[in-house]
């Protein structure tokens, strides 16, 4: 099952290594991992997605829970979570016509054109993995030169009642 695990971790050197090292040593197979700062300067958030059976996901959560640098860990409820990925896609273009087509497609997907030159165009698109996959599926018909995706980051909706 597609699952998102969100962890607040100590913001200090070695933390990401410990986590990825455990994932490797215990033979887990994750799909994406993203790290970034939070509203607290001493904490970072790590978001992991994984598409595995229940047992595997539970085990990963428990093994992550054992890591000393992980302060808090939650398995997000997909139905009550906002999750997004960002992709940057550079496409080579042959002529005006192609350029217009790509710009139209990008607009339909609410992407942005962030760089443009005579023979190439760079698109920024955010959304769920499926949306980005679908967009890439269409844009593939053109000449994709390079692409970078961030992996998913996510937050639960609403405010936890204290």
């Amino acid at each position: 099952m597609f699952s998102i695990i969100s962890a607040l971790v100590e913001n200090k050197p070695g933390v990401l290594f410990r986590l990825t090292n455990m994932i490797r040593a215990r033979n887990f197979n994750i799909d994406s991992l993203s790290v970034g700062p939070t509203e607290h300067s001493d904490l970072s958030r790590i978001t992991i997605t994984m598409d595995q059976d229940e047992h595997m996901i539970n085990q990963l959560v428990k093994q992550m829970g054992k890591l000393i640098d992980i302060v808090e860990i939650t398995r997000l409820d997909i139905n009550n979570t906002v999750y997004r990925e960002l992709a940057l896609i550079k496409v080579k273009i042959k002529g005006r016509e192609e350029r217009t087509e790509i710009i139209n497609l990008t607009n339909i997907f609410r992407g942005k054109i962030i760089d443009i030159s005579k023979n190439s165009i760079m698109i920024e698109i955010t959304g769920t993995k499926d949306k980005i996959d679908a967009f890439i599926g269409l844009i593939k018909e053109y000449n994709i030169v390079e692409m970078a995706r961030t992996g998913i980051t996510a937050l639960a909706r609403g405010v936890k009642s204290e």
């Binding site: 100590e10 070695g14 455990m22 047992h55 428990k62 093994q63 829970g65 890591l67 000393i68």
Partner: protein, 559 residues
């Protein structure tokens, strides 16, 4: 207080109540050693850092407190690795302290630099590298707290040399908090209730006591519970001795080389109470076969052990002792549990297997030697083992009388563990005899610790069952590789009596049962480090044998 990092470190060790460290100095930990010079902490100089880690481990297992070992950077640190890995797999608390090159040199491939934290991350609970002298007292406190609390484990502290030398104004905290670490001690009482109900309604209940019982020291609680409910008690190999093995309810260890009756009965049970066990493959055989048609209650302090290898029906997360106490406390006052039929079956199976495994036809066999050892050794003696046939024979034929007196490298299976661990055990409990049940191959690996045992006056007995071969490997080659024997012949090398004597220890050749008995008595009386060399036939097998990848029911009972 204005102090050097090294002084702050030694002071912090003293504050933790450390009075012995096992180690070897070198360039990168010299400032630490210089402070050790003026401390009351006893330093045991080892001949190889692997043994320092095993000694700290043996010490820790006996004391129930972290053992400490020191090594320099680079090769000193890497030599510790096997010992740290061994302690990790057996949940033993050690604090390993390595020297590191000065901060500015880290990452420059400096002389004797190695990324020991990178190497040890998978085999420690945590690795610290204090980057200023100020951080040291807090680091040490955290290291001991992590090593000893929850599920015990090794912790590494890597100390850059210039941090040891740096002078700073340091403070010694009374308490430390680690916000990402909250070991659960007390069990969930609803689950305890569920467990009790299951146990009371079971027809064929069985207990599987694992290493967690030994670590938690829950011997008394285990015995009370077993006796109250009249449940037979099997152990894992790591749990060996958690329950007195001569008790009428005792079945002995299960597993690859478990007791036949334990392996058999555990497959017949309807409710299994697994206590402080991680359901290792060596203990339970095939995961999918083990526990079929059985309800399983699993007590463990480590939540990640629940469901890791085996799905269970009732998880109880908590310290073993606290959990057993909770169960006992919540048991109904008057228990009328009729286990008669099941206990009759237990007796029947025990009888059946009693003489099923034929004795190997020699005047001196490993089995007879170990039975003799049990007969002569005082009940409170501590036994460690090496790895191989010697270890499994000890499991099968040496009954532990006093709980918590048997220690082996059960998880990593480290040859060479037993002897240094026995020295560490002796340091922890100098007033009881300590014996390492050894094979010649394993003893070869760390025999240089004879120097330590003799010079530091930590006398132990090496009970060496000498089959002039790597016996366990030989057994596999005989049984699974059509007798294509390779890489197992040790050719009666060296002469272990002379070897012992060369180190100033006592060497005794024991070629008959009488000589074995005399040898043990001489060793006990002399209180000297003694190697009792017992030549045995290289073809004697360990039986029964549950071949890897099969279920506990598929025991090979004769070769």
């Amino acid at each position: 207080m204005e102090l050097s990092g090294a002084k702050a470190f030694i002071k912090s060790l003293e504050a933790e109540g450390v009075n012995i460290v096992f180690g070897m100095p070198g360039g990168a930990n010299l400032p630490l050693y210089d402070e050790l010079y003026s401390s009351n902490i006893r330093h045991i100089l080892v001949r190889h850092e692997q043994s320092a880690a095993h000694m700290a481990d043996g010490y820790a297992r006996v004391k129930g407190k972290a053992g400490v070992c020191f090594a320099t950077s680079g090769p000193g640190a890497t030599n510790l690795v096997t010992g740290i890995g061994t302690a990790y797999m057996d949940s033993s608390p050690i604090v390993a302290v390595t020297g590191q090159v000065p901060r500015a040199m880290i990452g420059k491939d400096a002389f004797q630099e190695c990324d020991i934290i990178g190497i040890c991350t998978s085999i420690t609970k945590y690795c610290f590298q204090p980057y200023s002298a100020k951080e040291i007292p807090e680091t040490v406190k955290k290291a001991f707290y992590l090593a000893e609390s929850g599920r015990p484990a090794p912790v590494l502290i890597d100390l850059p040399k210039d941090v040891q030398q740096e002078i700073a104004d340091v403070e010694f905290p009374e308490l430390v908090k680690i916000r990402g670490y909250k070991p659960l001690i007390d069990p969930d009482l609803d689950q305890v209730k569920n467990a009790i109900e299951l146990l009371l309604n079971a027809e064929r209940p069985i207990i599987m006591a694992g290493g967690g019982v030994n670590i938690s020291g829950a011997f008394h609680e285990l015995q009370i519970l077993a006796e109250m409910l009249m449940i037979p008690v099997a152990t894992t190999f790591k749990g060996k001795g958690a329950f007195p093995e001569m008790h009428p309810l005792a079945l002995g260890p299960i597993g690859m080389h478990g007791h036949a009756e334990a392996n058999k009965l555990i497959t017949e049970a309807d409710v299994l109470l697994a206590i402080g066990s991680r359901f290792s493959d060596r203990s339970v055989g095939r995961f999918d076969e083990f526990g079929k048609g059985m309800k399983i209650i699993h007590i463990d302090i480590d939540p990640a052990e629940i469901g890791k290898n085996k799905q269970v029906d009732i998880p109880i997360i908590g310290d073993v002792k606290a959990s057993l106490r909770a169960i006992i406390k919540m048991l109904p006052n008057v228990i009328k549990k009729d286990n008669t039929l099941w206990l009759k079956r237990v007796k029947e199976v025990k009888e059946y297997y009693k003489d099923y495994i034929k004795d190997y036809p020699r005047d001196v066999t490993a089995k007879k030697a170990l039975k003799k050892l049990r007969e002569v050794l005082p009940a409170e003696s501590i036994v460690t083992t090496e790895v191989g046939q010697c270890q499994m024979w000890a499991s099968l034929h040496f009954d532990v009388i006093r709980p918590g007196t048997f220690f082996s490298s059960t998880g990593l299976g480290t040859m060479g563990f037993g002897f240094p661990a026995s020295i560490g055990a002796k340091a922890a409990k100098p007033d009881v005899p300590v014996v390492d049940v050894a094979g010649d191959g394993s003893f070869n690996m760390t025999e240089n610790s004879l120097a330590v045992s003799v010079l530091e006056e930590l006398p132990v007995i090496v009970f060496l069952m000498n089959n002039a071969s790597l016996g366990m490997v030989a057994q596999w080659q005989r049984m699974f590789y059509s007798r294509r024997m390779i890489g197992i012949d040790l050719k009666k090398m060296p002469d272990f009596v002379k070897l012992a004597e060369a180190y100033g220890a006592q060497g005794i050749n024991a070629e008959s049962m009488q000589e074995i008995e005399n040898g043990i008595r001489t060793a006990l009386k002399s209180n000297l480090t003694t190697v009792i060399n017992i030549p045995i036939d290289p073809e004697e097998n360990v039986l029964p044998f549950v071949a890897p990848g099969t279920g506990l029911n598929d025991m090979i009972l004769s070769a």
